[in-house]
Symmetry: C2
Subunit: 193 residues, 2 copies
């Protein structure tokens, strides 16, 4: 069976048992948002105990406080009333295994999928590639705790983020499923009004 038919079949089962979830309101019932990584091993609803309707979930490569994540967070509080945000990066994140220079080289070489060897990613594809990658900041990570603190600090310093919002910084361990606080991040993210 193809991915598409598997997804649609799973969706049919979900919709058949949808119950009263069609009555949920647009604003998140529990008033918070989570910014985390797109990594397939992470299920924020499961690891943070969310039911449908509870909280906004924003995800990108790395769980980084990109301009787009900040756009989403501002919409989250300004229009939909969230008051607390979590920034959650994770162990064994793909974003730790390359740099802007590596990614630009790989994409200039080909648009095939690279292979991860002992010395990092290398390209096996035939070209052509694209030089477009040099115009993108890939937001790679060299230190998990530092990246969480950096992102919480960026969010709190943004002129569209009010001082009353508390931002918590955590790392999710993919080996155990457990969240561990990054104290420097949470200190940087405390509500000050």
């Amino acid at each position: 069976m193809t991915v598409l038919s598997e997804v649609l079949e799973a969706n049919g089962r979900y919709a058949d048992a949808f119950g009263d979830k069609g009555e949920l309101a647009l604003p998140p019932a529990r008033g918070f948002a989570i910014l985390t990584c797109m990594d397939a091993r992470l299920d924020p609803a499961k690891f943070a105990g969310l039911s449908e309707g509870d909280a906004h979930v924003i995800r990108n490569a790395g769980g980084r406080a990109s301009d787009d994540a900040i756009r989403s967070l501002v919409i989250s509080y300004k229009l939909l009333g969230t008051r607390e945000w979590f920034v959650i990066h994770h162990t064994d994140c793909g974003m730790e295994f390359f740099t802007d220079e590596v990614m630009r080289g790989l994409l200039a070489s080909s648009l095939e999928t690279a292979v991860l060897g002992e010395k990092g990613f290398y390209d096996v594809g035939e070209g052509p590639g694209s030089s477009e990658a040099k115009y993108i900041d890939w937001l790679t990570i060299s230190d998990q705790a530092a990246s969480v603190t950096e992102d919480v600090t960026r969010i709190k310093a943004h002129p569209l983020v009010p001082a009353r919002i508390a931002v918590y910084g955590y790392i999710y361990d993919v080996k155990t499923g457990r969240l561990t606080e990054v104290p420097d991040a949470t200190a940087a993210g405390r509500a000050t009004a």
Copy 2:
């Protein structure tokens, strides 16, 4: 109980029953990615039948093909091998209820949460606000199907996205939990190599 302690307590229960999920590999086992909205009512793992380890999930306000979503999708195929992507917007999306002009006015007025009335959002807070909002494209939506098609088309036209990737366009109905195809989007997103 506070949101923070509730989340940590739920996480403790999840970690206690983590089982063998610590063995999951970094690349998505089922080789696909979903780009969808941060809306609290959407649980992509549930509505698309994902287990931990299956697929990348990228989420932002609207599920839009922002530059940051494209950064994430390129990492998804180039380094982690995904071959099919879903763009999923949804009914009753908050992004339909305002424009750039409205958002800029609201944020210039105050950084308090606005109220949604019959004529749209209005501000009840005391200033100061910030003029920073005018430098942000809020990526609002005026027509669901058109926005899905626009986003699939943007992704397929991006120089870092190879022709072999298939992109499917769907709308999730928050009243029923069901996915409905946007045929124009899926046609625009078909693999051509």
